[in-house]
Amino acid sequence: MINSRRWRYGEDLRGALVALALGVITSSAQAACPPDATDGAVLKAGELVLAYRPVLAGKPGRIPMAKHFALEVQMCDKAGVSIARLQKVDATMPEHRHGMNYRPLITPLGGGRFRVEGMMLHMAGHWQLVFEIQSGKEATRLTDDVQID
């Protein structure tokens, strides 16, 4: 009982410190860990949980075809907010062996949150979103299949 309470306290403190270190504590930017459906699609690899949500013209929405969109990404692990870095986001069409015509830009927002701009899936069909995450020396690759019509 005492142990688990101490554990939680420690994690809260660590989360707060991370947020402080990144200089971002705004109420709207507060991390939601673990993520739920309101944070978008949830992907998992071991203890790492990544949620992403497409944003079009400033509003959450579905990934459009052949239009630019952004992604809001939240990363968590068992400690709460993950301190891993989102290194690269890309998308490919495995059957057609090609990727996007654009190179997205990742901006860390603090609290395990990232904004990815400049995405565009320019053809109808099966795409695979790829997230590359670096945590210390450990690299993790998460993918998600999406169908665009």
């Binding site: 075809m65 057609h96 015509n101 654009y102 400049g118 320019h122 053809m123 019509d149």
Partner: protein, 392 residues
Amino acid sequence: MRRLLIAAALAALPTSAAFAGEDFSAAEVDRIAVHGPWPLPWTADPGNRVSGNAAAIRLGHDLFFDPRLSANRRVACASCHDPARGFQDGRRTGRGLVTGTRNTPGLFNLRHQRWFGWDGGHDNLWSASLRPILDPREMGGKASRVARALRSKSTLDCHYAAAFGKRPDAGDPELLVNVAKAIAAWQETLVSPATPFDQFRAALARQDAQTAAAYPAAAQRGLRLFLGRGQCATCHAGPLFSNGEFGDIGMPFFIKPNGVDPGRQGGIKRLLANPHNLLGAYNDDPTRDNATGTKFLRPEHRNFGEFKVPSLRNLTLTAPYMHNGSLATLREVVKHYSELDEDRLHADGERILKPLHLSEAESADLVAFLESLSPDTPLPVPAAPPAVASCR
């Protein structure tokens, strides 16, 4: 299950015995729906502060038809972009001061394009409109000539002043950009009308089988091929029938006598070197949100020999086809896709296209569908927009 039995409705019509309508599944109806509605809503171009401005639109119209902007005073935009031919010229490749290497595209529905030129060498309509004025192969114009042409006619002079708040001055570094923005403001108003396909699509959406049945059976079968086995909509997507991006369909890119057209690869280079791109000082959108495409561009080896996926609206007005105008008819285009030479596709190019090996009847169906994306009545040549009150 949303199924529309056009054939059933047809049975009720007196003269339709030989006419078999297609039975589109709910999934197909959904895929048809993404090619509309038409026309699309129009919004002003945030990168062009005179977009939608009445004085600029009138000025742009008048300049479009004015050959005095060119070096020999004989070539106007309209010389190649003929309004009677969907703003195209019917030639394999455009001919201005000299004959060029690319086919002249029509100019309808430009407001909804992201890239301009077959290689997407421009990210905005006004810089694409400035290029031909200055290009020595097309009009060979310059600022002093343009300023003289504007000042010599009171309607031009007046509309310029009304749109930009100053008189045209050859020494003004903004003069040519302003002129191009005015011509863009007029071109943006050119929207092609709804087509037999659009009427069919709208009828399907409201489950109006009787109106849907007026769409020829051959076009319906062609539509099914277009969406299905042909996989045409992968690239020719959405209401414009283009995803606005670039592709390689194995068209030759050699230019006589021994050059090559690098397509998109050259287009990206031109775009990034152009001071009139949306990252530059002439973009009137302070948010720069309209520059997303240019800012995040990722050049790839495969861009060599890629060309813009053209819109398929108004094809019956704009033969010949392809970036080099090498295919004279829609039959030839369909034959190209049917007999596609896969060796011509780049090694790391698309793996979408396969030779379709269409039968005679299937080819005719696909052509009938493509024709149904054009208006079925001749288009009137657009009238001059009204002069603004202060210039009458």
